[in-house]
Symmetry: D2
Subunit: 371 residues, 4 copies
Amino acid sequence: MNQNTVEQPSGDTSASGGDTAAHIRRNFASDNVSPVCPEILAALNAASTGSASSYGGDPWTEKLERRVCEIFETEARVFPVSTGTACNSLALSALCPPWGAVLCDESAHINNEECGAPEFFTHGAKLLGLPSGDGRISPDLLKRALEKAASEGSHSSKVSALSVTQATEWGTVYRPGHLREITGMARDAGLGVHMDGARLVNALAFLDCSPAEITWRSGVDILSLGATKSGAMAAEMMVVFDLARAEEMDRRRKRAGHIWSKQRFLSVQLLAWLGDDLWLRNGRIANEMAARLARGLLRQPGAVMPFDTESNEVFVVLPELLLEALEAAGFGFYRWVTPPGVDGTLIRLVTGYDTRAEDVDALLEVLAAVE
Amino acid sequence: MNQNTVEQPSGDTSASGGDTAAHIRRNFASDNVSPVCPEILAALNAASTGSASSYGGDPWTEKLERRVCEIFETEARVFPVSTGTACNSLALSALCPPWGAVLCDESAHINNEECGAPEFFTHGAKLLGLPSGDGRISPDLLKRALEKAASEGSHSSKVSALSVTQATEWGTVYRPGHLREITGMARDAGLGVHMDGARLVNALAFLDCSPAEITWRSGVDILSLGATKSGAMAAEMMVVFDLARAEEMDRRRKRAGHIWSKQRFLSVQLLAWLGDDLWLRNGRIANEMAARLARGLLRQPGAVMPFDTESNEVFVVLPELLLEALEAAGFGFYRWVTPPGVDGTLIRLVTGYDTRAEDVDALLEVLAAVE
Amino acid sequence: MNQNTVEQPSGDTSASGGDTAAHIRRNFASDNVSPVCPEILAALNAASTGSASSYGGDPWTEKLERRVCEIFETEARVFPVSTGTACNSLALSALCPPWGAVLCDESAHINNEECGAPEFFTHGAKLLGLPSGDGRISPDLLKRALEKAASEGSHSSKVSALSVTQATEWGTVYRPGHLREITGMARDAGLGVHMDGARLVNALAFLDCSPAEITWRSGVDILSLGATKSGAMAAEMMVVFDLARAEEMDRRRKRAGHIWSKQRFLSVQLLAWLGDDLWLRNGRIANEMAARLARGLLRQPGAVMPFDTESNEVFVVLPELLLEALEAAGFGFYRWVTPPGVDGTLIRLVTGYDTRAEDVDALLEVLAAVE
Amino acid sequence: MNQNTVEQPSGDTSASGGDTAAHIRRNFASDNVSPVCPEILAALNAASTGSASSYGGDPWTEKLERRVCEIFETEARVFPVSTGTACNSLALSALCPPWGAVLCDESAHINNEECGAPEFFTHGAKLLGLPSGDGRISPDLLKRALEKAASEGSHSSKVSALSVTQATEWGTVYRPGHLREITGMARDAGLGVHMDGARLVNALAFLDCSPAEITWRSGVDILSLGATKSGAMAAEMMVVFDLARAEEMDRRRKRAGHIWSKQRFLSVQLLAWLGDDLWLRNGRIANEMAARLARGLLRQPGAVMPFDTESNEVFVVLPELLLEALEAAGFGFYRWVTPPGVDGTLIRLVTGYDTRAEDVDALLEVLAAVE
């Protein structure tokens, strides 16, 4: 099962139309179909006054780094960028040489949906996808991969980094113990550790642990922390815990076109998102709506859910008849590649900070109404 | 003289402080120290409602492409990105192979101030800077460079593209005839033509000609059109006139992390900027303020201005005593590398869409007050 | 099973020592442990007289291209280089863009044993290894991979090339029908086709068909044809059947440091190897010796052979006791990663143009003597 | 004046023809038109016996490293490759990051005649050519370049390495004091130092100093030492004095396709070349022949020699009439780009280890015979 082989989302996903009728938000295609969260929009407006030094020399950027260090209870360097692909790829380029390889789950976004961005930024490193099944790298598979790597010489790419996705692409969440086990193995083998935290807030909301516990205290060297999927306009940040890895990151960002001249408008989004626990609240809402959706689907005859719903993504196999009913009612979602032997079609439904109970219930009602 | 060897700007460039005292905008360091222009900010706010398809499948993006085609009076493909460095480098990568070379002026931003981004995106092409003196490539130098290229074989990088900057890094502006002469020579030699239009609005305001005339009708294949320096938050766009060059541009953008998931917020900035001639009005204001500044400086004893002020950048050599007075009064500007043999220090003063006559006059008064 | 996880070869593989005792060639580690074949060495000596134009402007290079066209019964461009890794990677770079992907068998040399060279030369393309099991890509797996690729957009690398290895890394050989089936599917999907022919001579010797039949008539666009493993000092050549792909290959070679200044000494090796059917004779000898070895091993109690021996590589699972006996007797071979659940150790034994019946028999006698 | 703008060499440069008539070697186009030197050819033949471990695990490679350490009187790591372009580019990639810049003379081979190979291997670093005039970087220009670099931030490529060419592309030779001055400045600024020693033997023959004195004792971190131009078939080596720079060089070489499987045949060329002072004798012969040629040309009316002849390259401006006479007599040479304002045509004449006094005299006689 590989989530990057997707057809176009069903349903009316345009800004006007479907969503406005009866005020039901019908777009479950992704968490990035949402608008900017009001608190962040307000902060953007407030920051747009007076002149400010460009390229990160502004006070918002400085404040952001301080705030992140507080929240993560450690010293760290922070580099804001506007997309998750850039964030992941820049991070990997600081962890893996051009002749290196990155171990990741075969479902990882970096492996499937970034059009070779990690390969571009690392100048040709290989991504080695481990087929763990539910998005969480299995210690056994990792052990075997590391043993193989240890036996290889200069004819093979040098396995240099481990990348974990939290929450995973299948909506599952690593427990801290699992994470520490695999990052420990990786670090013992000399690898650097990256975490793709495009949906870290959803994992945090599920685990109810501290940001520190699930990142650097669990062996993460560089975190890609995403805000766009939970309310920002376009804002992600590398949080670099291994400070030596931050060296030359500004040149890496600059030559990739990823330093905004008016960087205050990137930093202020992240500041507002982290402020007053907005990020965690947004994560919690999305998770609750996904849980509500999953509970409803479990009651739906013919629905099969291959994974536990631990964050804000719900995967479900449904008969085509039901999918057509959803489409007819204007609901948006992605059809995934359905594994061989499965009866029905696997789809992904994603909730966001702005999904409401009535949106979820409306979807469930459409399904329930099909005879 | 090379503008990328700059010291930190003088003056208080923070968002609070200097600028608020007496409501005088003292920051002349760059046109990217400005906030977002109110019209664009309003459009951003208005677009933040309802769900929208991600990655460019939104109605704003579609409308933007139509609007650009109208304004430029031709069919074109439009690709919005958030920085000028990304815009230039992606454009060059579609014009020049990894074993190629790009001819540009030695002062070009792509050559000096993008930390090797064109080399990164083209996978190693060379930039060959021609020393024309005032930022406008001289036909004679270009002729010689093309003759040399024609005589070379596979031991030399293949000269594949010409990149012109309009307005130039020295604030000068190519006349249409000059532009057509050099792009004609380039096209005859099989080169593609790129225009770095980070300040095209200032050139348009100066020339008072149509956007078409100074771009594709003057031989430009891909235009990097910048809005950030004249009012946007972070928005530039490639305007691809040679449609074959647009092929695979989405994959180029994606693997560079330069497709926003919520792209509507990139496109809407550009739509608002192009709408109602806001872009031209903003360009005109900046030019007028630069002209006012230049006129004042010409009356200043001891001031030497090496270039005509044709856009929104003013270069002037001033005695250190005067610079210290400006700094003491809180004015921000960049010290450039002063050419050998020049008495005094070369500085750059940049005006923006939000510069006012009283800001300029306050600066001139400080100079006039020095005995 | 993955052949790039290899330990150091057992046995005395130095030039002196083991091999000389009783004149038995004990080194079965690879076909590249052999010296230069006498006919090729003689040709090298003969070419070393008088001055010759450098960088390929010599008469040997010209003659080589003509000879290759004759042998392959078609027009082709020929580019000699000194290593197989360079040959494969340059070929792939002409078939796959930086944002592309190459489909290959998961056992492929390009995927495992070239330290990311294809990624380097293509500037970051992905290699997607299909797990066919015996080194020959299965039409079913290829079909599924092509369907997946067809459903993907610009978030995924563009599947652009198919690379087949003939003979494969497991010593098996594609039949022409099999080859035509999978290259046909690839070409229908718009992919270019590469053949890694590091051991093409062994496949030719096994199939007893014409070089044309198993290459361009079977859908191959660029062939990497290797001579080093069957007698040359260091000489391989790209044979480019799709002439448009040859454009700029000289610049690709030059910027990779793969044009010899004294190229006559590269071309003359290949000329001598192709002349008088030396290549086919060398291939046949190696195959016959491998077949003799395989026949002997099949009679050996406890030996399991996972693949048919169709070229010059023999894979066999043997109990450790037997391997220790071989090592004690000075025989060189590689231990492969043994698949889970297999009793014993998988090793690879390779024969060359210079392997003799007595060398093979000596090895078999050592095994037979173990009680 | 830039030597990479060359037309095809005049004269009959094929292996047969011109050279055989009257046994006069007429090809002065380059030092790589020569055959393999007999001593090296003999060593190649001798090494072609028995099996040997591949990829550098052979005894010749081990012996070579020991021999180089003896000759250079220090510990060093040695990496043989088959071309000078590969040797230079691999060395630079270990000295300069992708976002870095290399300072070199504007005439440098790496800058003009390697088709962007340094850019390829470094993944996009810039080469900044200093216009010193005679190929030797002037301390003044270097000082200015380093000061500029020190003033720059992350918007500019990081100046990371200095590359010197010894002997230079104009046939001049750095004196040890000059070399120490500029490498000292570079090292003080944190740069690594590379020497392109494609013709180091000619510099050594001219200076009559020890190899250590003109390399690591003069501040060189990595030397590209070329044997091909003075007798080898295709053999160069990186001599890495800064041992930390050698780390991962094997992976760099492997992924560039620059590790021969039968590496013994690369190492043995270099061993024979260094053995018994063959390299120095070959260098001396070429220098003496160039000096003889230069003396003759100085007596030739109308000849202007822009540079001192200090190695084996002679640059001379001659009237077209004389060049036509040389061409008519079958002599081979390159026409260089003639500087503006010069009357006549600048050509390059190169002598080799196999040039004889009668070859030189024959050329001079042709000139003398023109009325």
